[in-house]
């Protein structure tokens, strides 16, 4: 029993690590632009397909494929900012609909390019760290955990230690006051969108060999990310990370000891419960939408 608990805990840690990357990106975009990016799960999916193209099809190194995933999806974020979210920044529902349009286009283009079937990404490494008979941690999963910690650490340092980071946080708190202080809101929106999308892309790229890659995989990711940012409180990056860990633990344990659908229900009920007790999420304060 103890071993099963530890193993499930390790699985939860892995789930929390990539989920927090996706959720933090979503929060960043919402914070700076006030737009709910419904297509964020598709950015994750596109990151995974970058690995399918570069690593499985062209057989280039995995690290390169992951980097392509980060940069390519980040640039797509810039395109979204320029073409959709900037013209619609005063129209939150419009931004939501536009991102739904983007979601449909992305799914259909990927289906046309790669087919609707599940893609098989060959494992990068088969190595497994064996703690005991029943506690095993595949190195591939460990990589995702380490990478998440590194990327979130870098983001934290960027936000707290650099001028751009200050500007970003300022315009997330109060765009107008930030603009009056001479901060280019357009510039901060671009940075937020590149980082937010890029984080979703790298999360998708890193997990691609471990999950089933298909054009509709974004759905479950966006549902989980929504739960996480609501529980954490919209606009709170720390809340998003913490809530990712809590959600991943609950979801993984219910999946292991009951079944997946019940785990989804539990996650959603958890979120509703938090909303009923504190309607702005655990760490949330402002309501911008």
């Amino acid at each position: 029993m103890f071993e099963l608990l530890v193993q499930t805990g390790l699985n939860a840690l892995y789930a929390a690590s990539y989920l927090s990357l996706v959720a933090v990106g979503l929060v960043l975009i919402f914070g700076v632009m006030g737009i709910i990016n419904f297509a964020h799960g598709e950015l994750f999916m596109l990151g995974a397909y970058a690995v399918v193209a570069v690593y499985s099809d062209f057989q280039l190194p995995f690290v390169l494929a992951a980097a392509v995933g980060l940069v390519f999806v980040g640039c797509l974020g810039l395109v979204m900012e320029w073409s959709l979210f900037r013209p619609l920044k005063d129209n939150p529902l419009g931004g939501l609909v536009a991102s739904i349009g983007f979601l449909m286009i992305a799914q259909a283009l990927v289906s046309m390019g790669f087919g609707v079937r599940m893609e098989h990404v060959p494992p990068v490494t088969q190595e497994v760290i064996v703690f005991s008979d029943k506690i095993r941690l595949p190195v591939q999963r460990l990589t995702v955990i380490v990478a998440s910690v590194v990327f979130l650490g870098l983001l934290w340092a960027f936000l707290k230690k650099t001028r751009f980071g200050w500007a970003l946080r300022a315009s997330a708190q109060d765009p107008e006051a930030a603009a009056l202080q001479g901060i280019s809101v357009r510039q901060t929106a671009r940075i937020a969108m590149f980082i937010g999308a890029g984080l979703a892309g790298i999360a998708g790229a890193l997990t691609a060999p471990l999950i089933s890659v298909n054009p509709h995989m974004g759905h479950s990711v966006i549902v989980a990310a929504f739960i996480v940012i609501i529980v954490g409180g919209v606009g709170s990056l720390e809340g998003a990370v913490l809530a990712s860990v809590v959600y991943a633990i609950v979801h993984t344990f219910v999946t292991t000891f009951a079944d997946g659908v019940l785990a989804d229900i539990t996650g959603l009920l958890l979120m509703l419960l938090v909303l009923v007790i504190k309607p702005t999420g655990l760490f949330g304060t402002a309501d911008r939408a």
């Binding site: 349009g101 286009i105 259909a108």
Partner: protein, 333 residues
């Protein structure tokens, strides 16, 4: 008198409509009629300013309830349909307690979560919901003969006439409701909820009322759907369907009663008939997505603003301002 002539002309046109269409287009027409009820009820819900992402699941509650009532209890189908609508309203009433603690973005996501919970319950429990495969062989409407016209409900044309009648009555009720003092209060709550509250309006009570009544109509539309196609499953009411309803309403425009209906008709014809018959089967979502983006970028007030502009050009004198003028921006900043 002129109004009556107009109504009779429209009615005659709607009755004649299916006879010029192919079989598959007749089927689309039935779905379109049912969806018009759905999207009109969605607008009723949004009148108080809250946007829900659970409306299609509520429609599904009506569908499941009506299907189960006729299947397990052997109720007469029209009765079970009405009860389906009532069940949806009841479920909405229960959901309103947690949901109306939230506003704006939180309500949007909260309603989505509540809907997903219901949908996953259908998926999880094979008894009585049929699990992931859903319910099959749902009783159809009993056929009957009027003497001059025999209703055979496996025929899309017959079902279309039936649905048309039900939907027309529902639309009329919703239209009257919106123009009643209750409807005016809905508008007041949308634009000035603090002020309305200060004036002694029970804001939460009215929000709940709009939510419950809209859900009842959505449930009825679900029942209409279930007894036509005869089979439903949890995926018939997933977020993808919700996205369609949302886009119909927003592309059509929600300032007027007809806006969402217009959006539903135009987008359905585009998606189901034009794009399908042009043979773009795989690229259809790409084009549909592009249309969404372009219309939201270049027609932010929806198709209805186009109609209003055309109408203004025809009558030289500006007409009476429409009730509850266009939501230029979402007022809740």
């Amino acid at each position: 008198m002129r109004n009556l002539t107009l109504i009779l002309c429209v009615a005659a046109a709607l009755i004649a409509l299916p006879h010029g269409l192919s079989f598959s287009q007749q089927e689309v027409l039935v779905f379109l009629t049912i969806n018009i009820l759905l999207v009109a009820s969605y607008r009723l819900l949004t009148l108080t300013g809250e946007w829900s992402l659970g409306h299609v699941v509520i429609m599904g509650v009506g569908a499941y309830a009506s299907a189960l009532l006729s299947k397990k209890l052997g109720l007469f189908v029209p009765v079970s349909m009405l009860l389906g609508g009532l069940t949806a309203a009841l479920v909405a009433y229960i959901l309103s307690f947690p949901l109306f603690r939230m506003k704006g973005f939180y309500f949007l996501i909260g309603s989505f979560a509540a809907g997903e919970v219901i949908r996953l319950l259908w998926k999880r429990f094979r008894e009585p919901f049929g699990g992931a495969k859903g319910l099959k062989r749902i009783d159809s409407m009993p056929d009957f003969d009027l003497g001059f016209y025999a209703f055979e409900f496996f025929e899309p044309v017959s079902y279309y006439y039936f649905a048309l009648l039900v939907v027309a009555v529902c639309l009329w009720v919703m239209w009257r409701l919106e123009r009643s003092p209750v409807g005016l209060t809905f508008h007041a709550i949308h634009w000035q909820d603090k002020l309305a509250e200060a004036a002694g309006v029970n804001v939460r009570g009215y929000r709940t009322l709009a939510f419950v009544v809209a859900s009842g109509f959505a449930g009825l539309s679900g029942a209409l759907l279930a007894h036509y196609i005869g089979t439903i499953n949890p995926n018939s009411f997933d977020v993808e369907q919700m996205v369609f309803v949302l886009t119909w309403a927003i592309v059509g425009g929600t300032a007027t009663f007809y806006g969402p209906i217009l959006g539903c008709i135009v987008l359905t014809i585009l998606n189901e008939i034009i794009l399908r018959e042009l043979g773009f089967e795989q690229a259809r979502p790409v084009i549909y997505g592009l249309i969404l983006i372009l219309s939201i970028l270049f027609l932010p007030k929806g198709l209805e603003s186009l109609v209003e502009r055309l109408a203004a050009r025809f009558r030289k004198t500006p007409g009476k301002p429409e009730l509850g003028t266009a939501p230029d921006k979402e007022a809740r900043a």
